[in-house]
Symmetry: C2
DNA sequence: GCGGTCACGGAAAAGGTTTGCCGATTGCGA
DNA sequence: TCGCAATCGGCAAACCTTTTCCGTGACCGC
């Protein structure tokens, strides 16, 4: 099974040229007769020659690889980002080193060292929460882009989705379908994204001279259970609520179940908007859920693009905010 | 930002020794005075020296990297496998190249070529379905292990979870809590895993002199909707069913909703078992769902271990079947 | 004092590729 | 037929590390 690796020396010998010439032929460099080029290429093809990237990288100083580190473990949010990044980088002939940081700074630093010793051309850092995180390290010899999470150093390049816009889109849509008494059920207040979504939503409400109905944003854990509990509380305190903006699709699904079981119709009595566009949630929800897509895959692609630019010598700085997208389904448009 | 990379030459010069000596000092090889070793190590530390893995790999013929290719896109099932593999490989100082095959054989072959040119020491192939797939290629110069999916070539090493056991565990548990009239709602029949789970379940039923209640296994798409639909059909045809084995947690959740809405209590009237142990499903299910965990992360770890063995010169052949684990929750033990 | 042994560390090659430089060949015009 | 220019292609260095082989010096025993 382990066939000896064929090197450019073998190709050169078989084609009757020198190694240098073979290299030029295969890379389209130098001054060579077309016939020579073709011959070398044909021989390389026949022998199944694959240039050794290690040797090439050693010489050129570029490895055409990048590292992808998660601060926390790869989860529901970092995975789309990761796939988007892999997508964009793969198209640019880059390979991606996968590093699962597991919320462990020691592990993260270990991976960092490994990546540097492998001479990656750049690094993407991703993580679950938008909250600013400490920079990976200072004075790295390669560019770094933070995706989904944000570096505390404002000079670093971070790419995040526009959480405030997500809130604005959701509430603007609810207002546009005639809702007046809008509630907000969401996640823990110590998530930056939670605060930003709420603020965005409130800014649109304020323009309409309104605010969330009493008792204001309901904060709890990210679970369907909390969605159900919060709905029960809300229906007791404000039975005439006519729309709920939920901080996640998961919450929204719990809310939908609780509403249905309390006899409310969706969207006739109460309209519902989530955030994430998480397929299993939005599809399984009855009725299918209107939501705001944070476009995480695009975010990953964008981060990879910025990293490629930085590698080419055009670094970006500061936080880049990516647009979100409202996806309308039956939970707001019966 | 881009500080010039410090090489072993710099370290050697700063420590007043030759490169060869520096190398020996840093790698604990050769015959050197302890004092010399310490001095070199201290200098390397001070300069922030990181051995260039490319150069090392070029010489040793090993890159200490492996490729991880999905045939289909990374999804809910391949991701735990991937993380488990990354886990096991990272512990062994191996780095992982991520390759998202996207169900596209062309893409897959492209990645294969890239990985070979990067001189990976081995390759793990993963994919969504257990159904045998064509081998990646014949006569590769590096070992390959298939994880979760299975190669059609019986000489190849594949690691899969024991789908039949999953079925046996589920039904044995239902029998052990006194259920007699067990139904099966599951996915499309053209999934090998679906057939194997059903066969495993039936073998246990047969030992007890029984079979699934009429109308036998209900096949449909992998969605909560189908779970609800199938439950409605089942309750019409066999109202006295007292347990349902579901081919996935997602199906089980739909089944649970439909049962509750038809007035059945879980588990008092109907007990419920799923497959996957998918956190968001089993926790959100009311009541929390008993299920069979396919231990995909362990499967990934195991595949990585086998790959490491193969790289060390001890290849495995054939299909390795990994155990599954029953997780008991309230849906069977009220 | 001398030969031998041992400890230490240096020199150099190897690994595969790219590339700058230079020599060689060919063809054409004078 | 000679010379020049243009076109081709070979040689060797460079990338960085590891490792083998060998040289040097010290020390010991005779």
């Amino acid at each position: 099974m382990v066939t000896a690796r064929v090197t450019i020396t073998d190709v050169a010998a078989a084609a009757g040229v020198s190694v240098g010439t073979a290299s030029k032929a295969l890379n389209g460099r130098g001054q060579l007769r077309q016939e020579t080029r073709d011959r070398v290429v044909a021989v390389a093809e026949r022998l199944g020659f694959q240039a050794n990237s290690l040797a090439r990288g050693l010489l050129s100083g570029r490895s055409f690889t990048v590292g992808l580190i998660t601060s926390d473990s790869f989860g529901r949010f970092s995975i789309p980002v990761m796939l988007g990044a892999e997508d964009a980088l793969g198209a640019g002939q880059m390979s991606v080193f996968l590093c699962d940081g597991r919320e462990d700074p020691i592990r993260e630093q270990h991976y960092l060292r490994t990546l540097l010793s492998r001479r990656v051309d750049g690094i993407i850092v991703t993580g679950r929460r938008a909250d600013p995180r400490p920079p990976l390290a200072s004075d790295l010899p390669v560019p770094v882009v933070y995706a989904l999470c944000q570096s505390r150093d404002p000079e670093d390049c971070s790419v995040v989705s526009d959480e405030a816009e997500a809130g604005r889109l959701a509430v603007a849509h609810l207002l546009s379908v005639g809702r007046q008494r809008i509630a907000h059920i969401t996640g823990p207040e110590d998530f930056l994204a939670v605060r930003e979504r709420a603020a965005g939503a409130r800014s649109v409400l304020a323009e309409a001279g309104a605010d969330f109905v009493e008792p204001g944003p309901l904060h709890g854990e990210w679970s369907e259970r909390w969605g159900r509990q919060a709905t029960a509380m809300l229906l007791r305190s404000t039975p005439d609520v006519d729309a709920i903006f939920c901080g996640s699709d998961q919450l929204a699904r719990g809310v939908a179940d609780a509403l249905r079981e309390s006899g409310r119709r969706i969207p006739e009595d109460v309209a519902l908007v989530g955030v994430d566009n998480w397929d299993v949630m939005v599809q399984a929800c009855r009725p299918p859920l209107t939501t705001v897509d944070l476009e995480l895959r695009e975010l990953g692609r964008s981060a990879a693009g910025l990293l490629l630019d930085a590698i080419e010598g055009n670094p970006s700085h500061g936080t880049i905010v990516r647009p979100t997208r409202l996806v309308i389904r039956e939970s707001t448009s019966g």
